[in-house]
C-alpha cells in the first residue's frame, strides 16, 4: 500500500466520519459545524482528484457560503426543536437504512465496474481549446464548449433570487433584505470587515482573471467577492440594498443578459447559437466572464442576505 493511498484512506475515513456526525449529531449547531469541516476536507479531496477548479469552488461555496447560510438558520431554531425530538419509528429507520444501503451498494458496484479505458472528452477539449484562446480547459468548457449549461446555470441563480425574494412578508416588499442584521459585536469585527475585504476583492479579481489560463474563473471569483460583501454587511459597514433598486436588478441580470446577447449574435457572426467568431473569441469570453463574475457575486450575496423585510420586523421577529 503506497503512502498516497494511506493518506487518501485517512481522508475518506474522516469525510465519512464527519458525514455520519452531521446526520447523527444531537445539536443542530454541532451538525452544521461538522458540515463546514466536512466541506473543507472535500475541497482537499478535489485537489487529490486533480480538479483544482472544483476545489476552489467547493472551498468558497460548498464550505464557506453554505456554512454561513446554515449557521444563520441553525441558531434561530427554537430551543425545543434543538433538544429532544420524537425519533422516527424503528420500522421507518430500518426501511430507510435498507433503501440507502441498496442505493449506496449499487453505486459502489458501478464504481467498481466502470469501463476501462475510461470514456473521456478530454482529447476533444484539448484539440479545440486553442481556438478559444484560453489556457484553462475547464473555463473553455464552461464558457465555450458547454456554454448552454453555464448560461442556464446563471439564469438559475436569478430564479433562486426571485424565489427567495418572493418569500418576503406581506409588508416587506421593496425593502432591504433582513437576514444579515449587524450583530452587536464591537470593534474586533469592524476591524476584520475593514481589513479583509480589500485583500478579498483583490483575490476575487485575481481568480476571475487567472481563470483564463489557470484554475479559477467567474464562479470562484464571484463567490469570494460575495463573501467579502456579506462580511461587510454582518459588521454593519454596508447595508443590504433595497430590492427595488434598479441598479441592483441590472447587476443581477447583466451577466446572463450579456451572455445571451453574445450567444444570439453568434447565430449570424459565427454560424451557431453561443458560438464565438474565432478572431474575437478570447476578448468576448473575457467580457462575458467579467459580467458573469459581477452578477454571480451579486446573486450569491443577495441569496445570503435573504428576502426583504419591513424595517420594523427587526424588533418583532428573530
Amino acid at each position: 500500500m503506497s503512502a498516497a493511498l494511506i493518506v487518501d484512506l485517512g481522508l475518506t475515513l474522516l469525510i465519512l466520519g464527519l458525514g455520519v456526525w452531521t446526520v447523527a449529531a444531537r445539536s443542530n449547531n454541532g451538525a452544521v459545524v461538522g458540515y463546514i469541516a466536512y466541506g473543507l476536507l472535500v475541497a482537499l479531496v478535489w485537489v487529490r482528484l486533480a480538479a483544482v477548479d472544483v476545489a476552489l469552488t467547493e472551498a468558497a461555496i460548498g464550505s464557506g457560503l453554505t456554512g454561513l447560510l446554515l449557521l444563520g438558520v441553525a441558531t434561530r431554531l427554537p430551543r425545543s426543536a434543538r433538544l429532544t425530538r420524537p425519533p422516527t419509528g424503528l420500522g421507518t429507520r430500518l426501511l430507510a437504512g435498507f433503501l440507502s444501503a441498496a442505493v449506496a451498494g449499487g453505486l459502489a458496484a458501478v464504481v467498481l465496474l466502470l469501463p476501462d479505458p475510461a470514456p473521456t472528452l478530454a482529447p476533444s477539449v484539448a484539440a479545440n481549446l486553442p481556438a478559444t484562446g484560453l489556457g484553462n480547459p475547464v473555463t473553455g468548457v464552461l464558457i465555450a464548449f458547454r456554454a448552454i449549461d453555464t448560461l442556464l446555470e446563471s439564469v438559475v441563480l436569478v430564479f433562486a433570487i426571485i424565489g427567495v425574494w418572493s418569500l418576503a412578508p406581506k409588508d416587506g416588499w421593496g425593502e432591504r433584505p433582513g437576514w444579515l442584521r449587524p450583530a452587536p459585536l464591537g470593534s474586533a469585527l469592524t476591524l476584520l470587515a475593514q481589513l479583509l475585504p480589500p485583500i478579498g476583492i483583490l483575490v476575487g479579481i485575481h481568480l476571475f482573471w487567472t481563470g483564463a489560463t489557470a484554475p479559477g474563473g467567474a464562479f470562484q471569483g464571484g463567490a469570494v467577492l460575495a463573501a467579502m460583501w456579506v462580511l461587510a454587511m454582518i459588521a454593519g459597514l454596508a447595508r443590504p440594498p433595497a430590492v427595488s433598486r434598479r441598479w441592483l436588478r441590472l447587476m443581477l441580470v447583466a451577466g446572463p443578459a450579456l451572455f445571451l446577447t453574445v450567444g444570439i449574435a453568434g447565430i449570424w457572426l459565427a454560424g451557431a447559437f453561443l458560438a464565438y467568431p474565432v478572431a474575437y473569441a478570447k476578448p468576448l469570453i473575457l467580457v462575458i466572464e467579467a459580467a458573469l463574475t459581477l452578477s454571480i457575486a451579486a446573486a450569491l450575496g443577495l441569496l445570503l442576505a435573504g428576502p426583504p423585510e419591513h424595517p420594523s420586523a427587526a424588533e418583532r421577529q428573530p
Binding site: V7, G10, L14, G17, L18, W21, N29, G30, V33, G34, I36, A37, L40, L41, A43, L44, V47, V52, L56, A59, A60, S63, G64, L65, G67, L68, L71, G72, A74, T75, R76, L77, P78, R79, P169, K170, A183, P184, L185, L189, L192, L196, I199, G200, V203, H206, L207, T210, A214, P215, G216, Q220, V224, A227, V230, L231, I234, R316, Q317, P318
Partner: protein
C-alpha cells in the same frame, strides 16, 4: 531526502494532527469548542495546501489556500455573530392575522 518529499511529509503530518483535533467536534461540549476544531482544521488545511503547492510547484494550490484562508474565518464570524442575538420566540398568532396557511 528531497526537499519536496520533506514538504509533502510535513503536509501529511500537519493534516493528520489537525484531523485528530476533530474529535473536539464530537466531544464539544459547547459550539465554540466545535467551531475551534473546525477552525484548526481550516488553518491546518491551509498550511498543508501551501506545503503541497510548493512541493508540486503548482501555483493554483496556493490560490486555493488563499481562498480557504479567506472563507474559513467567515463561518466562525457567522457563528459568533448569530450566537450574540437573543433566543427567538415563536411569533404570537395575532402578529400575522392572515398569514396562516395551514392545511
Amino acid at each position: 531526502m528531497d526537499i519536496a518529499d520533506f514538504l509533502l511529509a510535513a503536509a501529511v503530518f500537519v493534516l493528520a494532527t489537525v484531523a485528530l483535533g476533530l474529535t473536539r467536534i464530537l466531544r464539544g461540549p459547547s459550539d465554540v469548542d466545535r467551531m475551534m476544531a473546525a477552525q484548526l482544521l481550516g488553518t491546518g488545511g491551509v498550511a498543508a495546501l501551501l506545503l503541497l503547492g510548493v512541493a508540486t510547484d503548482m501555483n493554483a494550490i496556493t490560490d486555493l489556500a488563499l481562498v480557504l484562508a479567506l472563507l474559513a474565518a467567515f463561518a466562525s464570524v457567522a457563528l459568533v455573530a448569530d450566537a450574540r442575538r437573543p433566543e427567538p420566540e415563536p411569533v404570537p398568532d395575532d402578529a400575522h392575522p392572515e398569514g396562516k396557511t395551514r392545511t
